[in-house]
Every structure is written in structure tokens, then in C-alpha cells.
Chain length 208, copies 2
Amino acid sequence: MLASTTPRGKLRARGSTVVARVLRATIEELARIGYGALGIEGVANRAGVNKTTVYRRWATKSELVRAALRSMGDDKVCEVSTGSLRGDLLAVGRSIIAFTASPEGRSILRMVLAEGMEPELAAIAASLRREREASPRALVGAAVARGEIARGADAMLVMETLFGAIIQRLFISHEPLNEAFLERIVDLLLSGVARTTRKRAALRLRSA
Amino acid sequence: MLASTTPRGKLRARGSTVVARVLRATIEELARIGYGALGIEGVANRAGVNKTTVYRRWATKSELVRAALRSMGDDKVCEVSTGSLRGDLLAVGRSIIAFTASPEGRSILRMVLAEGMEPELAAIAASLRREREASPRALVGAAVARGEIARGADAMLVMETLFGAIIQRLFISHEPLNEAFLERIVDLLLSGVARTTRKRAALRLRSA
DNA sequence: TTCTTACGCAACAAAAAGTTGCGATCGGGC
DNA sequence: GCCCGATCGCAACTTTTTGTTGCGTAAGAA
């Protein structure tokens, strides 16, 4: 199927194989150095392809990046439901961490963060962001229905803060982001930090 | 515009004036296009200065950016103490919001977020961050002393989450970042979102 | 004023970005 | 097995960007 993986010697990749490799390389370069510093030649090298091949297929840098971003729009957002708010928040947190660990996620985050550079790219980034906002809303709705949180509570605020805490950890403080840290964030969001006897009992119960 | 073309108007800038203008322009360019795409010539044009002037004063791009970021480190860090943890958190949040409201603050944050992995910049960002970490630590220490939070509580986690929530609001969701939002974040961090009768009483007491 | 410093400017050198022509080779069709 | 159109690699080339140097001159202090 793939011409590039032919057993003997090195055969020249062609057609859709080249497209896939170049777009993949574009995503990776985007994640590594960002849009501004991205170069056609660097993408070609990473893809194991001559730069003329890239130039002939995509006229400009923005066109190439647009094609690359479009090519990865099919990723699914996990829509698990664990039955408890805490479990759901942990699941969402894990998916966020996994997302930010992948080249695709880093590229999207870069695009979102660097908003204001290219109008077209900003639009793509905005649409990608909106796609990933849907399932968290359903999640907090379920928690309200179970009575775990008050109806008046700002549930989206919890999701956004969870996301923000992870982003902060990853991109600002650059400290390790493991399961233990995620649990501490979730427990903070659930119970807060203010001293309360009732709260400490709840925490103890949860850890058991 | 240029001194040479307007002999009677503006005079040619020199010395500290040139330095200030170039560093200022560097910050603005960082905010506009980021570190990777930043060019010396672009900075020089924005500063209304010849590119040779920039090249002679700063040998490399990283050196220029380092100087520019350091030049804004001189801004004072507010060290207020309101007597309560909630008040202190609100004060810190306000200073963060004020910081992010300025073009300079946005530029450094955007840079750290989007390109924090660049080795050269990681060191600068880390040192700048450490400078601003001192007062939050003192703040939570005071809260522990007052008995508002448990000694074992991860206080820095609260600060980092507060910071993360704000940058999430700023750079991801792009929703308004006002006093009302800040209060909701702080109350979430203090009391959590899980449903508790004791907690709702505490919130009511606090708002009175 | 005079003297030193440092900036503007143009011309240059080097490197990166982008283009073109052509031979090679892949894959589909006969 | 062989041909043919499409597409890729390669090298040579042009253009653009990036970085350097020498010199005239303006700015500011003595």
C-alpha cells in the first residue's frame, strides 16, 4: 500500500503518501516552533521530502498550515461518564493532559494562544476550540441532575478552571503533570481550600 | 519621521532614548508575532531606528529579547495584605488581571505560553517568574498562621490555579475578565463546588 | 566652540526563501 | 512485459531576508 515502506532500497513516496507525511510534519513543526518560525524547508526535511514537492503542492505557508489543521479535525473527544462528578472531572483532566501531550494538541494550543497573527488561522483555531467545548457542558449537566452540585453553581467555571490549572502547570511552571497532581486539582475544585471540619471529613471519606 | 529628513523637527534619538524605544518595540513585536518570527529589522522599524543601531547594541535576537523582558521586570510587584485570605486572593487576582491588561503583560504571557520550550527563553521566563513568586508564598503563609487554611493544604496550588484560571479566561475562552469573574474564581477556590449545607452558609456569610 | 560618542545610511556579504528545467521513477493501463 | 502520464528529486537559479562594515555626520557634554 505504502510505496515508502517497500522492503528493498528506498522507493520514492508519491501522491497521498507524500501529502500525509507533509501534513504530519507540518503539525509537528507547528508544535515545535510555532507558526511564525515555521519554514517550508524544515517541514520538507522532517517529512523526508524535497522542498520543491512541498512548494508545488501548497503555494504559501498559510495554505499549508490550513491544510494541516484541517487534516486533523477528526479527533474524537472522549465522552465518558463515570457516574460521579469527581470521576468525570478526573477523566476530563486526563483527556486534556493527553491532548496537550500530543503534537496535534500542542499545535492547536499554539494556534489558539497565538491568535491575532493570521485572520484565517484564527478562525480555524476558534472553530477547533468550540468543538471541544461541547462535552464538558453535558458533563456538568449530569452532575447537577445527580444533585452533586447546586443548580446555581457556575459549572462551566469549574471546567475552565480545571483546564486553566493544567495549562498553567504545563506551559508556565513546567512542572510534572501526573495523576497525583490532577487529583489535587480536582479535590481543590470540589472542596476548596478554606478550613472546615465537614470538608476534611469529606476528603478523608473520598480518599478511602 | 526620520531625523535626517526633518532637520527642524524631531532630533535624532540617542543613548538611553534609543534603548528605551527599541526595547519597547521589541515587547510590542513579541506581542504581535512571537519570538520565533521576531526580526531585528522589524523591531528597528517599529522603534523608528536604523537596524544597524540595534545590531550594534545587541548581538543576537535572544540577547535583545532578554534585555527587553528584563526591562519590564522593574515593574513593582504589589505586596498588599488585606487581613483575610479571600481579600488577599482577590488582591493578587486583581494585580494579575492588571498585568495582563497591559500590552507588555500580554506579550510576555503569550510568549511563555506559546514558546516556553525554547531553551533560551525558558531561563528568562523562569527567573522572572521566581521574582513574582515571593509575595504569594508570604500570603499563604499568613493565611495558615491565621488558621484560615490547614497547614498541610497545598497553598501554592491555589495560587497557581488562580493564575491558570485567569490565563484560561484571557487566552482560551476570551471571555470578559472582570471583578465579578474574579470573585467567582476565588470563592470556588475557597469553598469548592461540591454541594454542602455548611458551605452554602459560609458563602452567604462571606457575601454579607 | 571642539571633541567624543553613537546614529543613519548605503553598500556589501551571507543565508534563507522561493522558482524553474530536466531527468528519473512510480503506478496504472495495455 | 512495456508504455505513458504524473509526480518526485535534484541542481541551478533568482529573490528576499538577514547580518556586517565603513564613513559621514548629528548630538550632547566639556
